[in-house]
Protein backbone atom coordinates (compact mmCIF):
# COMPACT_ATOMS: atom_id res chain seq x y z
CA UNK A 1 0.00 0.00 0.00
CA UNK A 2 2.74 2.43 1.04
CA UNK A 3 4.71 1.51 -2.05
CA UNK A 4 1.75 2.27 -4.30
CA UNK A 5 1.21 5.66 -2.69
CA UNK A 6 4.90 6.44 -2.99
CA UNK A 7 4.84 5.46 -6.66
CA UNK A 8 1.77 7.59 -7.25
CA UNK A 9 3.43 10.56 -5.57
CA UNK A 10 6.56 10.13 -7.71
CA UNK A 11 4.50 9.90 -10.91
CA UNK A 12 2.42 12.93 -9.93
CA UNK A 13 5.53 14.92 -9.03
CA UNK A 14 7.14 13.98 -12.34
CA UNK A 15 4.05 14.98 -14.27
CA UNK A 16 3.90 18.31 -12.45
CA UNK A 17 7.59 18.95 -13.01
CA UNK A 18 7.27 18.35 -16.75
CA UNK A 19 3.93 20.12 -17.12
CA UNK A 20 5.43 23.54 -17.81
CA UNK A 21 8.28 22.39 -20.04
CA UNK A 22 6.42 23.15 -23.27
CA UNK A 23 5.07 26.44 -22.01
CA UNK A 24 6.04 29.46 -24.05
CA UNK A 25 5.29 33.05 -23.15
CA UNK A 26 2.09 33.97 -24.92
CA UNK A 27 2.17 37.69 -24.25
CA UNK A 28 4.81 40.13 -25.43
CA UNK A 29 5.43 43.16 -23.29
CA UNK A 30 5.69 45.94 -25.82
CA UNK A 31 7.79 49.01 -25.31
CA UNK A 32 6.34 51.54 -27.69
CA UNK A 33 8.79 52.94 -30.20
CA UNK A 34 11.65 50.52 -29.71
CA UNK A 35 12.55 47.41 -31.68
CA UNK A 36 11.09 44.37 -29.98
CA UNK A 37 12.51 41.56 -32.10
CA UNK A 38 15.60 39.43 -31.97
CA UNK A 39 19.03 41.07 -32.16
CA UNK A 40 20.93 40.88 -35.43
CA UNK A 41 24.65 40.74 -36.04
CA UNK A 42 26.50 43.03 -38.46
CA UNK A 43 27.25 41.51 -41.88
CA UNK A 44 30.99 41.28 -41.20
CA UNK A 45 30.54 39.40 -37.91
CA UNK A 46 30.50 35.89 -39.32
CA UNK A 47 32.64 33.96 -41.80
CA UNK A 48 34.27 34.77 -44.17
CA UNK A 49 35.06 38.10 -42.51
CA UNK A 50 34.96 36.95 -38.87
CA UNK A 51 34.55 40.45 -37.48
CA UNK A 52 37.06 42.16 -39.75
CA UNK A 53 35.05 45.25 -40.65
CA UNK A 54 37.82 46.85 -42.69
CA UNK A 55 38.12 43.83 -44.95
CA UNK A 56 34.35 43.73 -45.44
CA UNK A 57 34.25 47.46 -46.19
CA UNK A 58 36.95 47.01 -48.82
CA UNK A 59 35.08 44.11 -50.45
CA UNK A 60 31.85 46.11 -50.59
CA UNK A 61 33.64 49.18 -51.92
CA UNK A 62 35.27 47.13 -54.68
CA UNK A 63 31.91 45.70 -55.66
CA UNK A 64 30.42 49.18 -55.50
CA UNK A 65 32.97 50.62 -57.89
CA UNK A 66 32.52 47.83 -60.42
CA UNK A 67 29.05 49.23 -61.02
CA UNK A 68 30.70 52.21 -62.67
CA UNK A 69 31.20 51.00 -66.21
CA UNK A 70 33.27 54.07 -67.10
CA UNK A 71 35.92 52.78 -64.75
CA UNK A 72 35.29 49.10 -65.39
CA UNK A 73 35.59 49.25 -69.15
CA UNK A 74 37.55 52.45 -69.68
CA UNK A 75 41.24 53.13 -70.01
Amino acid sequence: MTGTVARLIIVAAGAMALAACGERPQVVNYKQGTYQGKPDTPPFASAPYNGNEQQWDNAIRTRNLTQNEYKRIGD
Binding site: Y35, Q36, D40, P43, S46, A59, Y70, D75
Partner: protein, 219 residues
Protein backbone atom coordinates in the same frame (compact mmCIF):
# COMPACT_ATOMS: atom_id res chain seq x y z
CA UNK B 1 30.64 52.83 -42.57
CA UNK B 2 28.70 52.51 -45.81
CA UNK B 3 25.13 53.82 -45.95
CA UNK B 4 23.31 51.46 -48.27
CA UNK B 5 20.97 52.92 -50.85
CA UNK B 6 19.35 52.06 -54.16
CA UNK B 7 19.50 54.36 -57.17
CA UNK B 8 17.45 53.75 -60.32
CA UNK B 9 18.43 55.61 -63.46
CA UNK B 10 15.17 55.92 -65.42
CA UNK B 11 17.16 57.01 -68.47
CA UNK B 12 18.81 53.60 -68.66
CA UNK B 13 16.14 51.15 -67.49
CA UNK B 14 14.88 49.10 -70.43
CA UNK B 15 12.16 47.25 -68.50
CA UNK B 16 13.84 43.89 -68.98
CA UNK B 17 12.78 42.74 -65.50
CA UNK B 18 16.21 41.19 -64.97
CA UNK B 19 16.29 42.69 -61.46
CA UNK B 20 12.92 41.15 -60.63
CA UNK B 21 14.06 37.76 -61.86
CA UNK B 22 17.40 38.01 -60.07
CA UNK B 23 15.64 38.80 -56.79
CA UNK B 24 13.12 35.99 -57.21
CA UNK B 25 15.82 33.49 -58.04
CA UNK B 26 18.27 34.60 -55.36
CA UNK B 27 15.82 34.40 -52.48
CA UNK B 28 13.42 31.76 -53.84
CA UNK B 29 10.53 34.17 -53.43
CA UNK B 30 7.14 32.44 -53.61
CA UNK B 31 4.55 33.12 -56.26
CA UNK B 32 2.54 36.25 -55.52
CA UNK B 33 5.30 38.09 -53.66
CA UNK B 34 7.36 40.63 -55.56
CA UNK B 35 10.08 42.23 -53.51
CA UNK B 36 11.11 44.17 -56.60
CA UNK B 37 9.12 45.18 -59.66
CA UNK B 38 9.52 47.42 -62.66
CA UNK B 39 7.05 50.27 -63.04
CA UNK B 40 6.59 51.97 -66.41
CA UNK B 41 5.07 55.42 -66.74
CA UNK B 42 3.73 56.89 -69.98
CA UNK B 43 3.74 53.41 -71.45
CA UNK B 44 3.78 53.46 -75.23
CA UNK B 45 3.92 57.22 -75.62
CA UNK B 46 6.86 59.61 -76.00
CA UNK B 47 8.57 60.16 -72.69
CA UNK B 48 8.08 56.57 -71.52
CA UNK B 49 10.23 55.75 -68.53
CA UNK B 50 10.69 52.60 -66.49
CA UNK B 51 11.81 52.45 -62.89
CA UNK B 52 12.81 49.46 -60.82
CA UNK B 53 11.08 49.75 -57.44
CA UNK B 54 11.59 47.94 -54.15
CA UNK B 55 12.13 48.94 -50.55
CA UNK B 56 14.43 51.98 -50.69
CA UNK B 57 15.58 51.54 -47.09
CA UNK B 58 14.54 55.09 -46.28
CA UNK B 59 16.55 57.27 -43.95
CA UNK B 60 13.43 57.98 -41.90
CA UNK B 61 11.38 54.92 -42.75
CA UNK B 62 7.62 55.43 -42.34
CA UNK B 63 7.07 51.66 -41.97
CA UNK B 64 9.14 51.74 -38.79
CA UNK B 65 7.06 54.60 -37.45
CA UNK B 66 3.66 52.96 -37.97
CA UNK B 67 4.42 49.34 -37.04
CA UNK B 68 2.22 48.56 -33.99
CA UNK B 69 4.50 45.76 -32.79
CA UNK B 70 7.80 47.56 -33.53
CA UNK B 71 9.25 44.70 -35.53
CA UNK B 72 11.42 46.96 -37.73
CA UNK B 73 15.02 47.88 -37.11
CA UNK B 74 17.76 49.60 -39.03
CA UNK B 75 21.22 48.08 -39.31
CA UNK B 76 24.44 50.03 -38.99
CA UNK B 77 24.62 50.09 -42.79
CA UNK B 78 21.24 51.83 -43.04
CA UNK B 79 19.30 48.76 -44.18
CA UNK B 80 15.72 48.58 -42.90
CA UNK B 81 14.89 45.02 -41.81
CA UNK B 82 12.17 43.39 -39.77
CA UNK B 83 11.63 40.40 -37.50
CA UNK B 84 9.10 38.03 -39.07
CA UNK B 85 8.59 36.24 -35.75
CA UNK B 86 7.08 39.44 -34.41
CA UNK B 87 5.19 40.67 -37.47
CA UNK B 88 1.42 40.24 -37.21
CA UNK B 89 0.72 40.98 -40.88
CA UNK B 90 -1.52 43.95 -40.10
CA UNK B 91 -0.54 45.81 -43.28
CA UNK B 92 0.04 49.23 -41.70
CA UNK B 93 3.51 49.35 -43.23
CA UNK B 94 2.02 48.79 -46.67
CA UNK B 95 -0.20 51.85 -46.30
CA UNK B 96 2.67 53.95 -44.94
CA UNK B 97 5.28 52.99 -47.55
CA UNK B 98 5.55 55.51 -50.42
CA UNK B 99 7.03 52.80 -52.65
CA UNK B 100 4.53 49.98 -52.04
CA UNK B 101 7.39 47.76 -50.90
CA UNK B 102 5.79 45.55 -48.22
CA UNK B 103 4.37 42.35 -49.66
CA UNK B 104 1.99 39.91 -48.00
CA UNK B 105 1.85 36.27 -49.05
CA UNK B 106 -1.56 34.69 -49.00
CA UNK B 107 -1.64 32.56 -45.86
CA UNK B 108 -4.96 30.80 -46.29
CA UNK B 109 -8.42 31.01 -47.77
CA UNK B 110 -10.40 34.25 -48.06
CA UNK B 111 -7.33 36.41 -48.65
CA UNK B 112 -5.85 35.92 -45.20
CA UNK B 113 -2.51 37.70 -45.10
CA UNK B 114 0.72 36.17 -43.96
CA UNK B 115 3.67 37.97 -42.42
CA UNK B 116 5.09 40.90 -44.30
CA UNK B 117 7.92 40.26 -46.74
CA UNK B 118 10.06 42.90 -48.39
CA UNK B 119 13.43 43.61 -49.92
CA UNK B 120 16.20 43.06 -47.38
CA UNK B 121 18.94 44.67 -49.47
CA UNK B 122 20.17 41.06 -49.59
CA UNK B 123 21.09 41.45 -45.92
CA UNK B 124 19.04 38.59 -44.45
CA UNK B 125 17.37 39.24 -41.12
CA UNK B 126 17.61 38.67 -37.38
CA UNK B 127 18.76 35.06 -37.59
CA UNK B 128 22.23 33.53 -37.63
CA UNK B 129 24.02 34.82 -40.73
CA UNK B 130 23.79 32.48 -43.73
CA UNK B 131 21.78 29.90 -41.76
CA UNK B 132 18.86 27.88 -43.15
CA UNK B 133 16.47 29.75 -40.87
CA UNK B 134 17.65 33.08 -42.23
CA UNK B 135 17.33 31.90 -45.83
CA UNK B 136 13.83 30.51 -45.34
CA UNK B 137 12.51 33.62 -43.63
CA UNK B 138 14.43 36.44 -45.29
CA UNK B 139 16.40 35.05 -48.20
CA UNK B 140 20.09 34.97 -48.91
CA UNK B 141 22.48 37.21 -46.99
CA UNK B 142 24.75 38.48 -49.76
CA UNK B 143 25.96 41.41 -47.70
CA UNK B 144 27.52 39.00 -45.22
CA UNK B 145 29.30 37.39 -48.17
CA UNK B 146 30.76 40.77 -49.14
CA UNK B 147 28.42 41.17 -52.09
CA UNK B 148 25.85 43.76 -53.09
CA UNK B 149 22.17 43.09 -53.85
CA UNK B 150 21.63 40.63 -56.69
CA UNK B 151 19.21 42.93 -58.53
CA UNK B 152 21.76 45.74 -58.84
CA UNK B 153 24.66 43.47 -59.66
CA UNK B 154 22.61 41.68 -62.33
CA UNK B 155 21.31 44.85 -64.02
CA UNK B 156 22.56 44.65 -67.59
CA UNK B 157 22.36 48.38 -68.32
CA UNK B 158 23.45 49.38 -64.81
CA UNK B 159 20.26 51.40 -64.47
CA UNK B 160 19.83 50.02 -60.99
CA UNK B 161 22.69 50.76 -58.66
CA UNK B 162 22.90 49.52 -55.09
CA UNK B 163 25.45 50.13 -52.40
CA UNK B 164 27.06 52.97 -50.48
CA UNK B 165 25.10 56.16 -51.20
CA UNK B 166 28.21 58.31 -51.62
CA UNK B 167 29.72 55.99 -54.22
CA UNK B 168 26.40 55.72 -56.08
CA UNK B 169 26.10 59.51 -56.15
CA UNK B 170 29.60 59.77 -57.62
CA UNK B 171 28.83 57.18 -60.31
CA UNK B 172 25.57 58.88 -61.20
CA UNK B 173 27.10 62.33 -61.23
CA UNK B 174 29.76 61.22 -63.71
CA UNK B 175 27.13 59.47 -65.82
CA UNK B 176 24.91 62.56 -66.05
CA UNK B 177 27.87 64.78 -66.83
CA UNK B 178 28.80 62.50 -69.73
CA UNK B 179 25.34 62.30 -71.23
CA UNK B 180 24.48 65.88 -70.35
CA UNK B 181 20.86 65.34 -69.36
CA UNK B 182 18.42 63.72 -66.96
CA UNK B 183 19.97 64.51 -63.61
CA UNK B 184 16.90 63.72 -61.55
CA UNK B 185 17.04 60.59 -59.43
CA UNK B 186 13.64 59.07 -59.00
CA UNK B 187 12.60 58.51 -55.38
CA UNK B 188 15.72 59.79 -53.69
CA UNK B 189 14.14 62.86 -52.15
CA UNK B 190 11.29 60.73 -50.81
CA UNK B 191 13.51 58.00 -49.44
CA UNK B 192 16.59 59.83 -48.28
CA UNK B 193 15.30 63.29 -47.50
CA UNK B 194 14.52 66.37 -49.53
CA UNK B 195 17.06 69.20 -49.56
CA UNK B 196 16.90 71.11 -46.31
CA UNK B 197 15.25 68.32 -44.35
CA UNK B 198 18.46 67.09 -42.83
CA UNK B 199 18.64 63.89 -44.86
CA UNK B 200 21.10 63.12 -47.62
CA UNK B 201 20.49 65.22 -50.68
CA UNK B 202 20.14 63.70 -54.12
CA UNK B 203 23.39 63.79 -56.06
CA UNK B 204 24.02 67.19 -57.57
CA UNK B 205 24.38 66.94 -61.26
CA UNK B 206 25.07 69.25 -64.14
CA UNK B 207 21.99 71.03 -65.51
CA UNK B 208 20.31 69.64 -68.59
CA UNK B 209 22.07 70.60 -71.79
CA UNK B 210 25.53 70.77 -70.25
CA UNK B 211 27.95 69.47 -72.87
CA UNK B 212 29.81 66.28 -72.11
CA UNK B 213 33.46 66.73 -71.17
CA UNK B 214 36.11 65.80 -73.66
CA UNK B 215 37.35 62.23 -73.40
CA UNK B 216 33.94 60.73 -72.75
CA UNK B 217 34.31 61.11 -68.99
CA UNK B 218 36.53 58.07 -68.66
CA UNK B 219 38.93 58.08 -65.79
Amino acid sequence: MARMKFLCDAERCIECNGCVTACKQEHEIPWGVNRRRVVTVNDGVPGERSISVACMHCSDAPCMAVCPVDCFYKTGEGVVLHDKDLCIGCGYCFYACPFGAPQFPQAGAFGVRGKMDKCTFCAGGPEKDMSDAEFKKYGRNRLAEGKLPACAEMCSTKALLGGDGDVLADIYRQRVTVRGKSGEVWGWATAYGAPGSGGQQPPRTAPAGTPAPAGGGKS
